[in-house]
Symmetry: D2
Subunit: 134 residues, 4 copies
Protein backbone atom coordinates (compact mmCIF):
# COMPACT_ATOMS: atom_id res chain seq x y z
CA UNK A 1 0.00 0.00 0.00
CA UNK A 2 1.40 3.38 -1.00
CA UNK A 3 2.28 6.05 1.57
CA UNK A 4 -0.39 8.27 0.04
CA UNK A 5 -3.09 5.64 0.58
CA UNK A 6 -1.99 5.15 4.17
CA UNK A 7 -2.21 8.90 4.78
CA UNK A 8 -5.64 9.20 3.17
CA UNK A 9 -7.00 6.74 5.74
CA UNK A 10 -5.95 8.96 8.66
CA UNK A 11 -8.25 11.98 8.27
CA UNK A 12 -11.85 12.89 7.42
CA UNK A 13 -13.10 13.64 3.94
CA UNK A 14 -16.19 14.86 2.14
CA UNK A 15 -15.64 12.76 -0.97
CA UNK A 16 -18.17 9.98 -0.40
CA UNK A 17 -16.60 7.15 -2.38
CA UNK A 18 -15.79 3.53 -1.77
CA UNK A 19 -12.45 3.47 0.07
CA UNK A 20 -10.93 0.82 -2.09
CA UNK A 21 -12.04 2.29 -5.43
CA UNK A 22 -10.61 5.65 -4.43
CA UNK A 23 -7.29 4.20 -3.33
CA UNK A 24 -7.00 2.09 -6.48
CA UNK A 25 -7.73 5.16 -8.63
CA UNK A 26 -5.15 7.34 -6.89
CA UNK A 27 -2.43 4.72 -7.29
CA UNK A 28 -3.37 3.91 -10.90
CA UNK A 29 -3.30 7.61 -11.80
CA UNK A 30 0.15 8.05 -10.27
CA UNK A 31 1.47 4.93 -12.00
CA UNK A 32 0.03 6.09 -15.33
CA UNK A 33 1.56 9.57 -15.03
CA UNK A 34 4.97 8.03 -14.36
CA UNK A 35 4.61 5.51 -17.17
CA UNK A 36 3.63 8.17 -19.71
CA UNK A 37 6.53 10.36 -18.62
CA UNK A 38 8.98 7.50 -19.11
CA UNK A 39 7.35 6.43 -22.38
CA UNK A 40 7.74 9.94 -23.79
CA UNK A 41 11.50 9.69 -23.39
CA UNK A 42 11.58 6.12 -24.71
CA UNK A 43 9.56 7.18 -27.79
CA UNK A 44 12.08 9.96 -28.41
CA UNK A 45 14.83 7.30 -28.55
CA UNK A 46 13.16 5.40 -31.42
CA UNK A 47 14.39 5.46 -35.03
CA UNK A 48 11.02 6.02 -36.69
CA UNK A 49 10.29 9.26 -34.89
CA UNK A 50 7.67 10.47 -37.34
CA UNK A 51 5.47 7.51 -36.40
CA UNK A 52 5.88 8.27 -32.70
CA UNK A 53 4.84 11.94 -32.68
CA UNK A 54 1.19 11.27 -31.90
CA UNK A 55 2.19 8.87 -29.15
CA UNK A 56 4.54 11.46 -27.61
CA UNK A 57 1.87 14.16 -27.64
CA UNK A 58 -0.75 11.91 -26.07
CA UNK A 59 1.74 10.78 -23.42
CA UNK A 60 2.50 14.43 -22.58
CA UNK A 61 -1.21 15.25 -22.22
CA UNK A 62 -1.79 12.09 -20.20
CA UNK A 63 1.07 12.93 -17.82
CA UNK A 64 -0.28 16.42 -17.14
CA UNK A 65 -3.95 15.47 -16.77
CA UNK A 66 -3.12 12.51 -14.50
CA UNK A 67 -1.00 14.81 -12.34
CA UNK A 68 -3.94 17.17 -11.84
CA UNK A 69 -6.45 14.35 -11.27
CA UNK A 70 -4.19 12.66 -8.72
CA UNK A 71 -3.63 15.92 -6.87
CA UNK A 72 -7.32 16.76 -6.68
CA UNK A 73 -8.30 13.24 -5.59
CA UNK A 74 -5.62 13.41 -2.88
CA UNK A 75 -7.33 16.45 -1.34
CA UNK A 76 -10.32 14.59 -0.02
CA UNK A 77 -11.61 17.10 2.45
CA UNK A 78 -13.16 19.53 -0.05
CA UNK A 79 -14.95 17.54 -2.73
CA UNK A 80 -16.87 19.35 -5.47
CA UNK A 81 -18.48 17.14 -8.13
CA UNK A 82 -18.56 20.04 -10.62
CA UNK A 83 -14.75 20.04 -10.52
CA UNK A 84 -13.89 16.38 -9.96
CA UNK A 85 -16.33 14.70 -12.35
CA UNK A 86 -15.27 16.47 -15.57
CA UNK A 87 -11.62 16.17 -14.52
CA UNK A 88 -12.08 12.38 -14.24
CA UNK A 89 -13.91 12.36 -17.59
CA UNK A 90 -10.97 14.18 -19.18
CA UNK A 91 -8.58 11.72 -17.54
CA UNK A 92 -10.58 8.73 -18.81
CA UNK A 93 -10.62 10.16 -22.34
CA UNK A 94 -6.87 10.81 -22.52
CA UNK A 95 -6.02 7.43 -20.94
CA UNK A 96 -8.23 5.78 -23.54
CA UNK A 97 -6.62 7.61 -26.49
CA UNK A 98 -3.10 7.25 -25.16
CA UNK A 99 -3.64 3.56 -24.35
CA UNK A 100 -4.95 2.88 -27.85
CA UNK A 101 -2.04 4.68 -29.51
CA UNK A 102 0.52 2.88 -27.32
CA UNK A 103 -1.23 -0.42 -28.11
CA UNK A 104 -0.58 0.18 -31.82
CA UNK A 105 3.16 0.13 -31.11
CA UNK A 106 3.05 -2.56 -28.44
CA UNK A 107 4.02 -5.51 -30.64
CA UNK A 108 7.45 -4.06 -31.51
CA UNK A 109 8.08 -1.61 -28.64
CA UNK A 110 8.09 -3.05 -25.18
CA UNK A 111 7.90 0.43 -23.56
CA UNK A 112 4.65 1.18 -25.39
CA UNK A 113 3.22 -2.20 -24.38
CA UNK A 114 3.89 -1.39 -20.72
CA UNK A 115 2.54 2.17 -21.05
CA UNK A 116 -0.63 0.88 -22.75
CA UNK A 117 -1.19 -1.38 -19.77
CA UNK A 118 -0.76 1.52 -17.32
CA UNK A 119 -3.19 3.67 -19.34
CA UNK A 120 -5.85 0.96 -19.55
CA UNK A 121 -5.63 0.24 -15.85
CA UNK A 122 -5.91 3.97 -15.06
CA UNK A 123 -8.85 4.40 -17.43
CA UNK A 124 -10.71 1.53 -15.77
CA UNK A 125 -9.94 2.72 -12.23
CA UNK A 126 -11.19 6.23 -13.05
CA UNK A 127 -14.36 4.82 -14.68
CA UNK A 128 -15.06 2.67 -11.61
CA UNK A 129 -14.56 5.65 -9.30
CA UNK A 130 -16.61 8.04 -11.44
CA UNK A 131 -19.60 5.66 -11.43
CA UNK A 132 -19.72 5.69 -7.64
CA UNK A 133 -19.38 9.47 -7.24
CA UNK A 134 -22.69 11.17 -6.86
CA UNK B 1 2.39 39.28 -25.73
CA UNK B 2 3.81 36.25 -23.90
CA UNK B 3 6.58 34.09 -25.38
CA UNK B 4 4.14 31.15 -25.39
CA UNK B 5 1.64 33.07 -27.51
CA UNK B 6 4.36 34.09 -29.94
CA UNK B 7 5.44 30.45 -30.29
CA UNK B 8 1.90 29.20 -30.79
CA UNK B 9 1.61 31.41 -33.86
CA UNK B 10 4.58 29.74 -35.56
CA UNK B 11 3.29 26.23 -36.24
CA UNK B 12 0.15 24.38 -37.45
CA UNK B 13 -2.56 23.09 -35.14
CA UNK B 14 -5.71 21.00 -35.22
CA UNK B 15 -7.48 22.96 -32.49
CA UNK B 16 -9.86 25.07 -34.55
CA UNK B 17 -10.39 28.05 -32.27
CA UNK B 18 -10.32 31.79 -32.61
CA UNK B 19 -6.66 32.82 -32.34
CA UNK B 20 -7.28 35.60 -29.91
CA UNK B 21 -9.63 33.65 -27.61
CA UNK B 22 -7.12 30.84 -27.41
CA UNK B 23 -4.22 33.14 -26.64
CA UNK B 24 -6.22 35.01 -24.01
CA UNK B 25 -7.22 31.72 -22.37
CA UNK B 26 -3.66 30.36 -22.25
CA UNK B 27 -2.35 33.54 -20.64
CA UNK B 28 -5.27 33.83 -18.21
CA UNK B 29 -4.79 30.21 -17.13
CA UNK B 30 -1.09 30.75 -16.49
CA UNK B 31 -1.75 33.96 -14.57
CA UNK B 32 -4.42 32.23 -12.47
CA UNK B 33 -2.19 29.27 -11.63
CA UNK B 34 0.52 31.65 -10.45
CA UNK B 35 -1.91 33.79 -8.48
CA UNK B 36 -3.42 30.78 -6.69
CA UNK B 37 0.05 29.47 -5.86
CA UNK B 38 1.03 32.81 -4.33
CA UNK B 39 -2.32 33.18 -2.57
CA UNK B 40 -1.92 29.77 -0.90
CA UNK B 41 1.25 30.98 0.78
CA UNK B 42 -0.28 34.34 1.66
CA UNK B 43 -3.32 32.59 3.21
CA UNK B 44 -0.95 30.50 5.32
CA UNK B 45 0.51 33.73 6.73
CA UNK B 46 -2.84 34.94 8.06
CA UNK B 47 -3.80 34.92 11.74
CA UNK B 48 -7.27 33.42 11.33
CA UNK B 49 -6.08 30.24 9.68
CA UNK B 50 -9.23 28.23 10.40
CA UNK B 51 -11.19 30.62 8.19
CA UNK B 52 -8.67 30.27 5.38
CA UNK B 53 -8.59 26.48 5.08
CA UNK B 54 -11.25 26.26 2.38
CA UNK B 55 -9.53 29.06 0.44
CA UNK B 56 -6.19 27.24 0.65
CA UNK B 57 -7.65 23.97 -0.59
CA UNK B 58 -9.46 25.62 -3.50
CA UNK B 59 -6.30 27.52 -4.44
CA UNK B 60 -4.33 24.25 -4.45
CA UNK B 61 -6.89 22.56 -6.72
CA UNK B 62 -7.05 25.63 -8.95
CA UNK B 63 -3.26 25.69 -9.33
CA UNK B 64 -3.10 22.03 -10.36
CA UNK B 65 -6.07 22.09 -12.75
CA UNK B 66 -4.92 25.32 -14.41
CA UNK B 67 -1.46 23.78 -14.89
CA UNK B 68 -2.97 20.81 -16.73
CA UNK B 69 -5.36 22.95 -18.78
CA UNK B 70 -2.58 25.33 -19.80
CA UNK B 71 -0.30 22.46 -20.81
CA UNK B 72 -2.96 20.74 -22.91
CA UNK B 73 -4.02 23.99 -24.61
CA UNK B 74 -0.35 24.69 -25.41
CA UNK B 75 -0.11 21.44 -27.39
CA UNK B 76 -2.26 22.59 -30.25
CA UNK B 77 -1.34 20.02 -32.84
CA UNK B 78 -3.33 17.11 -31.41
CA UNK B 79 -6.71 18.41 -30.30
CA UNK B 80 -9.31 15.97 -28.93
CA UNK B 81 -12.59 17.51 -27.74
CA UNK B 82 -13.29 14.49 -25.49
CA UNK B 83 -10.19 15.47 -23.50
CA UNK B 84 -10.10 19.25 -23.78
CA UNK B 85 -13.77 20.09 -23.23
CA UNK B 86 -14.24 18.40 -19.83
CA UNK B 87 -10.83 19.69 -18.76
CA UNK B 88 -11.97 23.24 -19.52
CA UNK B 89 -15.27 22.55 -17.72
CA UNK B 90 -13.34 21.42 -14.65
CA UNK B 91 -11.13 24.50 -14.90
CA UNK B 92 -14.16 26.79 -15.16
CA UNK B 93 -15.77 25.14 -12.11
CA UNK B 94 -12.69 25.42 -9.88
CA UNK B 95 -11.99 29.01 -11.00
CA UNK B 96 -15.59 29.86 -10.15
CA UNK B 97 -15.46 28.28 -6.67
CA UNK B 98 -12.00 29.60 -5.89
CA UNK B 99 -12.89 33.07 -7.14
CA UNK B 100 -16.04 33.16 -4.97
CA UNK B 101 -14.15 32.00 -1.88
CA UNK B 102 -11.36 34.54 -2.45
CA UNK B 103 -13.98 37.24 -2.99
CA UNK B 104 -15.36 36.55 0.51
CA UNK B 105 -11.98 37.57 1.97
CA UNK B 106 -11.28 40.35 -0.52
CA UNK B 107 -12.42 43.25 1.63
CA UNK B 108 -9.79 42.65 4.33
CA UNK B 109 -7.14 40.64 2.47
CA UNK B 110 -5.58 42.29 -0.54
CA UNK B 111 -4.00 39.01 -1.72
CA UNK B 112 -7.42 37.36 -1.93
CA UNK B 113 -8.84 40.33 -3.80
CA UNK B 114 -6.13 40.00 -6.43
CA UNK B 115 -6.50 36.21 -6.63
CA UNK B 116 -10.27 36.53 -7.04
CA UNK B 117 -9.67 38.82 -10.00
CA UNK B 118 -7.27 36.30 -11.59
CA UNK B 119 -9.80 33.47 -11.07
CA UNK B 120 -12.69 35.41 -12.55
CA UNK B 121 -10.67 36.44 -15.57
CA UNK B 122 -9.56 32.84 -16.11
CA UNK B 123 -13.11 31.50 -15.70
CA UNK B 124 -14.39 33.95 -18.32
CA UNK B 125 -11.54 33.26 -20.76
CA UNK B 126 -12.14 29.49 -20.49
CA UNK B 127 -15.90 29.94 -20.97
CA UNK B 128 -15.32 32.07 -24.07
CA UNK B 129 -12.93 29.48 -25.51
CA UNK B 130 -15.14 26.51 -24.66
CA UNK B 131 -18.10 28.06 -26.46
CA UNK B 132 -16.14 28.30 -29.69
CA UNK B 133 -14.71 24.76 -29.56
CA UNK B 134 -16.75 22.29 -31.54
CA UNK C 1 8.12 -3.10 -9.90
CA UNK C 2 6.50 0.13 -11.14
CA UNK C 3 5.52 0.61 -14.79
CA UNK C 4 8.01 3.46 -14.98
CA UNK C 5 10.88 1.21 -13.87
CA UNK C 6 9.89 -1.41 -16.40
CA UNK C 7 9.89 1.19 -19.17
CA UNK C 8 13.26 2.61 -18.14
CA UNK C 9 14.82 -0.80 -18.74
CA UNK C 10 13.70 -0.88 -22.37
CA UNK C 11 15.78 1.89 -23.94
CA UNK C 12 19.30 3.33 -23.91
CA UNK C 13 20.42 6.13 -21.62
CA UNK C 14 23.40 8.39 -21.01
CA UNK C 15 22.92 8.59 -17.25
CA UNK C 16 25.63 6.20 -16.06
CA UNK C 17 24.20 5.06 -12.73
CA UNK C 18 23.64 1.77 -11.00
CA UNK C 19 20.35 0.41 -12.35
CA UNK C 20 18.95 -0.48 -9.00
CA UNK C 21 19.91 2.79 -7.25
CA UNK C 22 18.29 4.75 -10.05
CA UNK C 23 15.08 2.72 -9.98
CA UNK C 24 14.86 2.95 -6.19
CA UNK C 25 15.35 6.73 -6.35
CA UNK C 26 12.67 7.25 -9.01
CA UNK C 27 10.11 5.24 -7.06
CA UNK C 28 11.02 6.85 -3.71
CA UNK C 29 10.71 10.33 -5.23
CA UNK C 30 7.27 9.53 -6.66
CA UNK C 31 6.11 8.03 -3.34
CA UNK C 32 7.40 11.06 -1.44
CA UNK C 33 5.67 13.54 -3.76
CA UNK C 34 2.37 11.70 -3.30
CA UNK C 35 2.83 11.43 0.46
CA UNK C 36 3.58 15.15 0.86
CA UNK C 37 0.57 16.03 -1.29
CA UNK C 38 -1.70 13.92 0.89
CA UNK C 39 -0.08 15.16 4.10
CA UNK C 40 -0.71 18.78 3.10
CA UNK C 41 -4.44 18.09 3.01
CA UNK C 42 -4.33 16.07 6.22
CA UNK C 43 -2.44 18.90 7.98
CA UNK C 44 -5.15 21.31 6.85
CA UNK C 45 -7.73 19.13 8.64
CA UNK C 46 -6.01 19.48 12.02
CA UNK C 47 -7.34 21.63 14.87
CA UNK C 48 -4.03 23.30 15.77
CA UNK C 49 -3.46 24.82 12.36
CA UNK C 50 -0.98 27.43 13.52
CA UNK C 51 1.41 24.67 14.53
CA UNK C 52 1.04 23.00 11.15
CA UNK C 53 1.86 25.95 8.88
CA UNK C 54 5.56 25.18 8.60
CA UNK C 55 4.77 21.52 7.88
CA UNK C 56 2.30 22.49 5.15
CA UNK C 57 4.79 24.82 3.46
CA UNK C 58 7.58 22.25 3.54
CA UNK C 59 5.23 19.59 2.17
CA UNK C 60 4.26 21.91 -0.70
CA UNK C 61 7.90 22.57 -1.57
CA UNK C 62 8.73 18.88 -1.25
CA UNK C 63 5.89 17.92 -3.60
CA UNK C 64 7.02 20.35 -6.29
CA UNK C 65 10.75 19.61 -6.08
CA UNK C 66 10.18 15.84 -6.06
CA UNK C 67 7.94 16.20 -9.12
CA UNK C 68 10.75 17.95 -11.02
CA UNK C 69 13.44 15.54 -9.81
CA UNK C 70 11.35 12.51 -10.76
CA UNK C 71 10.61 13.92 -14.20
CA UNK C 72 14.26 14.72 -14.95
CA UNK C 73 15.47 11.31 -13.69
CA UNK C 74 12.85 9.62 -15.89
CA UNK C 75 14.38 11.21 -18.99
CA UNK C 76 17.51 9.13 -18.98
CA UNK C 77 18.70 9.69 -22.50
CA UNK C 78 20.04 13.22 -22.02
CA UNK C 79 21.91 13.40 -18.72
CA UNK C 80 23.64 16.62 -17.68
CA UNK C 81 25.34 16.60 -14.26
CA UNK C 82 25.18 20.41 -14.05
CA UNK C 83 21.38 20.10 -14.05
CA UNK C 84 20.74 16.82 -12.25
CA UNK C 85 23.25 17.09 -9.40
CA UNK C 86 22.00 20.38 -7.88
CA UNK C 87 18.41 19.27 -8.46
CA UNK C 88 19.10 16.14 -6.39
CA UNK C 89 20.86 18.28 -3.76
CA UNK C 90 17.81 20.49 -3.52
CA UNK C 91 15.59 17.41 -3.28
CA UNK C 92 17.74 15.93 -0.51
CA UNK C 93 17.62 19.20 1.44
CA UNK C 94 13.83 19.60 1.26
CA UNK C 95 13.23 15.91 2.07
CA UNK C 96 15.50 16.33 5.10
CA UNK C 97 13.71 19.45 6.36
CA UNK C 98 10.24 18.15 5.60
CA UNK C 99 11.02 14.78 7.18
CA UNK C 100 12.30 16.45 10.35
CA UNK C 101 9.25 18.68 10.62
CA UNK C 102 6.86 15.77 10.03
CA UNK C 103 8.78 13.75 12.61
CA UNK C 104 8.03 16.45 15.21
CA UNK C 105 4.30 15.75 14.79
CA UNK C 106 4.63 11.99 14.30
CA UNK C 107 3.79 10.95 17.85
CA UNK C 108 0.28 12.40 17.72
CA UNK C 109 -0.44 12.57 13.98
CA UNK C 110 -0.28 9.31 12.09
CA UNK C 111 -0.28 11.10 8.70
CA UNK C 112 2.88 13.00 9.62
CA UNK C 113 4.54 9.80 10.84
CA UNK C 114 3.90 8.17 7.46
CA UNK C 115 5.03 11.28 5.54
CA UNK C 116 8.22 11.48 7.60
CA UNK C 117 8.99 7.91 6.60
CA UNK C 118 8.42 8.70 2.90
CA UNK C 119 10.69 11.77 3.15
CA UNK C 120 13.50 9.91 4.89
CA UNK C 121 13.39 7.09 2.40
CA UNK C 122 13.46 9.58 -0.49
CA UNK C 123 16.33 11.56 1.07
CA UNK C 124 18.39 8.38 1.43
CA UNK C 125 17.62 7.12 -2.07
CA UNK C 126 18.64 10.48 -3.57
CA UNK C 127 21.84 10.54 -1.50
CA UNK C 128 22.74 7.04 -2.65
CA UNK C 129 22.12 7.96 -6.28
CA UNK C 130 23.97 11.28 -6.08
CA UNK C 131 27.10 9.58 -4.71
CA UNK C 132 27.31 7.30 -7.73
CA UNK C 133 26.73 10.03 -10.33
CA UNK C 134 29.93 11.39 -11.75
CA UNK D 1 2.74 43.48 -13.32
CA UNK D 2 1.55 39.90 -12.90
CA UNK D 3 -1.10 38.92 -10.35
CA UNK D 4 1.50 36.75 -8.61
CA UNK D 5 3.83 39.72 -8.15
CA UNK D 6 1.02 41.84 -6.77
CA UNK D 7 0.15 39.10 -4.26
CA UNK D 8 3.76 38.64 -3.18
CA UNK D 9 3.85 42.27 -2.10
CA UNK D 10 0.95 41.80 0.32
CA UNK D 11 2.45 39.53 2.99
CA UNK D 12 5.64 38.99 5.00
CA UNK D 13 8.48 36.73 3.90
CA UNK D 14 11.76 35.34 5.17
CA UNK D 15 13.46 35.33 1.79
CA UNK D 16 15.66 38.40 2.08
CA UNK D 17 16.06 39.40 -1.55
CA UNK D 18 15.74 42.56 -3.54
CA UNK D 19 12.03 42.96 -4.32
CA UNK D 20 12.54 43.73 -7.95
CA UNK D 21 15.05 40.94 -8.63
CA UNK D 22 12.72 38.43 -7.02
CA UNK D 23 9.70 39.60 -8.99
CA UNK D 24 11.64 39.62 -12.25
CA UNK D 25 12.88 36.08 -11.57
CA UNK D 26 9.41 34.71 -10.78
CA UNK D 27 7.94 36.17 -13.95
CA UNK D 28 10.89 35.10 -16.13
CA UNK D 29 10.66 31.55 -14.77
CA UNK D 30 6.96 31.35 -15.52
CA UNK D 31 7.45 32.75 -19.01
CA UNK D 32 10.27 30.30 -19.68
CA UNK D 33 8.23 27.29 -18.50
CA UNK D 34 5.40 28.29 -20.82
CA UNK D 35 7.75 28.95 -23.75
CA UNK D 36 9.48 25.57 -23.37
CA UNK D 37 6.12 23.81 -23.17
CA UNK D 38 4.96 25.45 -26.38
CA UNK D 39 8.32 24.89 -28.08
CA UNK D 40 8.16 21.16 -27.32
CA UNK D 41 4.97 20.89 -29.33
CA UNK D 42 6.30 23.11 -32.09
CA UNK D 43 9.47 20.98 -32.33
CA UNK D 44 7.28 17.88 -32.68
CA UNK D 45 5.65 19.50 -35.73
CA UNK D 46 8.95 19.85 -37.60
CA UNK D 47 9.99 17.65 -40.54
CA UNK D 48 13.53 16.92 -39.37
CA UNK D 49 12.51 15.35 -36.08
CA UNK D 50 15.78 13.52 -35.52
CA UNK D 51 17.56 16.88 -35.26
CA UNK D 52 15.00 18.14 -32.75
CA UNK D 53 15.15 15.32 -30.20
CA UNK D 54 17.76 16.96 -28.00
CA UNK D 55 15.85 20.24 -28.12
CA UNK D 56 12.61 18.48 -27.10
CA UNK D 57 14.27 16.72 -24.17
CA UNK D 58 15.90 19.91 -22.91
CA UNK D 59 12.60 21.80 -23.24
CA UNK D 60 10.84 19.10 -21.20
CA UNK D 61 13.46 19.29 -18.43
CA UNK D 62 13.38 23.09 -18.53
CA UNK D 63 9.58 23.13 -18.19
CA UNK D 64 9.63 20.86 -15.14
CA UNK D 65 12.54 22.53 -13.34
CA UNK D 66 11.16 26.03 -13.96
CA UNK D 67 7.78 24.88 -12.58
CA UNK D 68 9.44 23.75 -9.34
CA UNK D 69 11.65 26.84 -9.06
CA UNK D 70 8.72 29.18 -9.63
CA UNK D 71 6.59 27.37 -7.05
CA UNK D 72 9.31 27.46 -4.39
CA UNK D 73 10.12 31.13 -5.03
CA UNK D 74 6.40 31.93 -4.75
CA UNK D 75 6.32 30.55 -1.19
CA UNK D 76 8.32 33.33 0.34
CA UNK D 77 7.50 32.81 3.97
CA UNK D 78 9.72 29.77 4.56
CA UNK D 79 13.04 30.34 2.82
CA UNK D 80 15.81 27.74 3.14
CA UNK D 81 19.02 28.45 1.21
CA UNK D 82 19.94 24.73 1.25
CA UNK D 83 16.83 24.10 -0.86
CA UNK D 84 16.50 27.25 -2.95
CA UNK D 85 20.12 27.81 -3.96
CA UNK D 86 20.77 24.43 -5.65
CA UNK D 87 17.31 24.58 -7.21
CA UNK D 88 18.20 27.94 -8.78
CA UNK D 89 21.58 26.50 -9.87
CA UNK D 90 19.80 23.62 -11.57
CA UNK D 91 17.39 26.06 -13.20
CA UNK D 92 20.26 28.23 -14.45
CA UNK D 93 22.03 25.17 -15.91
CA UNK D 94 19.01 23.84 -17.79
CA UNK D 95 18.05 27.31 -19.07
CA UNK D 96 21.61 27.70 -20.34
CA UNK D 97 21.64 24.33 -22.13
CA UNK D 98 18.13 24.67 -23.47
CA UNK D 99 18.77 28.24 -24.62
CA UNK D 100 21.96 27.18 -26.46
CA UNK D 101 20.21 24.28 -28.18
CA UNK D 102 17.26 26.46 -29.20
CA UNK D 103 19.69 29.08 -30.48
CA UNK D 104 21.18 26.49 -32.86
CA UNK D 105 17.78 26.20 -34.57
CA UNK D 106 16.86 29.87 -34.25
CA UNK D 107 17.86 30.94 -37.77
CA UNK D 108 15.34 28.66 -39.47
CA UNK D 109 12.77 28.05 -36.72
CA UNK D 110 11.06 31.08 -35.29
CA UNK D 111 9.65 29.11 -32.32
CA UNK D 112 13.16 28.14 -31.23
CA UNK D 113 14.35 31.71 -31.59
CA UNK D 114 11.61 32.88 -29.24
CA UNK D 115 12.21 30.02 -26.80
CA UNK D 116 15.95 30.76 -26.74
CA UNK D 117 15.14 34.33 -25.76
CA UNK D 118 12.87 33.15 -22.92
CA UNK D 119 15.58 30.76 -21.67
CA UNK D 120 18.31 33.38 -21.73
CA UNK D 121 16.17 35.91 -19.92
CA UNK D 122 15.27 33.31 -17.28
CA UNK D 123 18.90 32.22 -16.86
CA UNK D 124 19.97 35.82 -16.31
CA UNK D 125 17.13 36.60 -13.88
CA UNK D 126 17.96 33.48 -11.82
CA UNK D 127 21.68 34.37 -11.80
CA UNK D 128 20.89 37.90 -10.61
CA UNK D 129 18.65 36.58 -7.86
CA UNK D 130 21.06 33.84 -6.77
CA UNK D 131 23.88 36.38 -6.34
CA UNK D 132 21.84 38.39 -3.86
CA UNK D 133 20.64 35.41 -1.79
CA UNK D 134 22.75 34.78 1.23
Amino acid sequence: MSYARQILDTYPRTLDADDNLLAVAIDAISDCAQACQADTDADLSEQNLAEMVRCIRLCLDCTDICAAAGAVLSRLAEYDPAVTRPLLESCIAICHSCGEECERHAAHMEHCRICAEACRRCEQACRDLLETLK
